[in-house]
């Protein structure tokens, strides 16, 4: 770490978790409200953070308000623990929360902050997943006025979102939303589940872990409480589909590193123009590789 960028902890007197206790209290109250009204976008006073809005400040404020000395934190960005956003956020938490452990192993973490993915490994009741959200309101694509969107949410009026799906099916024979798939929580509010791929949407449904979503720029917190119904918006006769990763022969593509055929894959194009696929969740992929090599040794 560059010593130049270290926070002057002694001089500035930052409290544990960077945010002052009043700020954390306010965020925690909003979290409680968000959990009490599943899917409702609770407004909160998003603080200025020492990084630009849009770099995960919403998720970071949730993490900093929840984290304690006995917590173990995992931070991922698009499934990877090593990409820039994840590394920087993790370092920031280490810097401002002395005594907090960090890990890359999904099962060891008590708190997971993620951008755009849910870990492949099933989460447990002991864990909290924090998702960073750029656009919290699923209705923004059909209604520009926030005042009117609030009324539409209140009355659970989502017919115009369904019209969008209808138009998709008419034009392309399938629903073309790849990420940010509108999802109905507990039978009322429709949320934008942050830019997770369709693959991850069914894993919000009856999730044992608490899922919190924070939008720093838009100043909203919302939640999918544990064991809550989360249904993607669809027609009765057109089932919701996740990415199927089949090649031209209808064969399920495997990860080039671990050979998994049950994980979400990233498409990679090398310099020669060849297309290969690799697990998006890097920790999952490494664990699979270890299991395989252990089996070979045995």
């Amino acid at each position: 770490m560059n010593a130049h960028y270290e926070l002057p902890l002694e001089d500035a007197g930052y409290s544990f978790g960077f945010l002052d206790e009043y700020a954390k209290k306010e965020v925690r109250r909003c979290i409680l409200k968000a959990i009490s009204i599943p899917g409702y976008q609770t407004p909160y006073a998003s603080r200025e953070m020492p990084m630009g809005r849009g770099f995960g400040t919403g998720g970071l404020q949730l993490t900093l308000s929840l984290i304690g000395e006995d917590d173990t934190l995992k931070v991922i960005d698009q499934g990877s623990d090593d990409s820039v956003n994840a590394v920087n956020l993790r370092q920031f938490v280490q810097l401002t929360c002395p005594g907090v452990d960090v890990t890359e192993k999904t099962q060891e973490a008590t708190l997971i902050q993620s951008r755009h993915r849910i870990p492949e490994k099933m989460l447990t009741e002991e864990q909290i997943l924090v998702l960073q959200v750029p656009y919290p309101d699923a209705l923004v694509v059909v209604e520009p006025s926030e005042a009117r969107r609030k009324v539409m949410h209140g009355e659970a009026d989502y017919s115009r979102l369904l019209v969008k799906l209808y138009e998709d099916v008419v034009r392309f024979d399938e629903i073309t939303i790849s990420h940010r798939y509108p999802t109905r929580i507990n039978g009322h509010y429709v949320i934008d589940p942050s830019p997770i791929p369709r693959w991850d949407v069914p894993r919000l449904h009856q999730s044992p872990a608490l899922v919190l979503l924070g939008a720093g720029r838009e100043k909203k917190i919302y939640a999918v409480p544990p064991y809550t119904v989360a249904e993607p918006l669809v027609f009765d006769d057109i089932a919701f589909r996740v990415e199927d990763f089949r090649d031209a022969n209808g064969q399920r593509i495997a990860c080039r590193c671990c050979g998994s055929t049950v994980s979400f894959l990233d498409e990679l194009i090398d310099d020669a123009g060849n297309i290969t696929h690799q697990c998006s969740d890097s920790t999952y992929c490494e664990e699979q590789q270890e299991t395989i090599s252990a089996r070979k040794r045995a």
Binding site: R160, Y166, F235
Partner: protein, 277 residues
């Protein structure tokens, strides 16, 4: 059981701050609808009528007479400052202006239909013609794609819009076709009550005749009650059994359409009928 579908009593809409003299200083006898004391505009005052199943009621009057205001209030586009309206839906009576916003929206989506003079008000020009009809079906909680497609296609065929153009944007349609799509959209949920606000204004004569024919056919087939707002005496003569004549926000004459056209009582109605000939 009575055949009544709508009962309107003392419906009023005043724009502005209102003073005790608003009512007494406006109206046809003062030749204005603007209060000279406080500047408020009395868009409609004390409108009373009953509407029965399958009946077409005409509202006629000059621009600014309050005819559109009246219909807008009944379709919840605007709220009245006084008065009440009761909607008889089967055995259930609804006091329309006492319902909450969600109930009003549901009634508007499922039990009423509206066709505006300007298709831009009634249609969404960002989506296909079929999508516009699908919107209303989706609003009434139909969630089955194939059924939505079939019903939207049937409705467009019924209003003589070719099924082949169902997935095209209504922007590319002629004015008459846009109006037909609007009618198909309004009819999507088979509402017992339809509001038509100057539906034929601005269309050429042959298209006007075709649209009016369509409206009459729908009335005969489905028994839909309608309120037709127009300033065209021909439309009233053709469609409406009963007519209200409005001027400066007041109903000045009401009765059977034939009676009003053949034997107008009020001076304004007499002038109106005379000028049309």
């Amino acid at each position: 059981m009575s055949n009544k579908i709508l009962s309107v009593r003392g419906l009023s809409r005043i724009h502005g701050e209102q003073c005790p003299l608003c009512i007494s200083s406006t109206g046809p006898e003062h030749d204005t609808n603007m209060c000279s004391h406080c500047g408020s505009v009395v868009a409609a005052h004390d409108v009373n009528f009953d509407l029965y199943r399958g009946e077409i009621l005409g509202i006629i009057g000059e621009s600014g007479s309050g005819k559109s205001s009246t219909v807008k209030m009944l379709y919840f586009d605007d709220m009245p400052t006084a008065g009440s309206a009761t909607f008889y839906d089967g055995d259930v009576q609804h006091d329309m202006f006492a319902l909450n916003a969600a109930q009003q929206r549901s009634m508007r989506n499922k039990r009423f239909g509206m066709v505006y003079q300007n298709p831009h008000l009634g249609l969404n020009f960002q989506i296909s013609a079929g999508g516009n009809i699908a919107e209303r079906l989706l609003m009434s909680d139909l969630r089955h794609y194939v059924e939505i497609r079939t019903r939207a296609g049937d409705l467009l065929a019924r209003t003589e819009v070719s099924r082949a153009r169902m997935d095209q944007n209504p922007k590319t349609f002629s004015g008459g076709m846009q109006q037909r799509v609007q009618i198909a959209k309004a009819l999507a949920t088979q509402p017992p009550l339809l509001f038509l606000d100057e539906v034929t204004t601005g269309l050429d004569l042959s298209v006007q005749a075709a649209i009016l024919d369509l409206i009459l056919e729908i009335q005969h087939e489905l028994g839909t009650a309608m309120i037709v707002v127009t300033h065209d005496l021909g439309v009233i003569r053709l469609l409406a059994g009963r007519t209200l004549v409005m001027k400066h926000g007041r109903v000045i004459e009401s009765g059977l359409t034939d009676q009003i056209l053949e034997d107008p009582q009020h001076a304004y109605t007499q002038r109106l009928v005379a000028s049309a000939l």
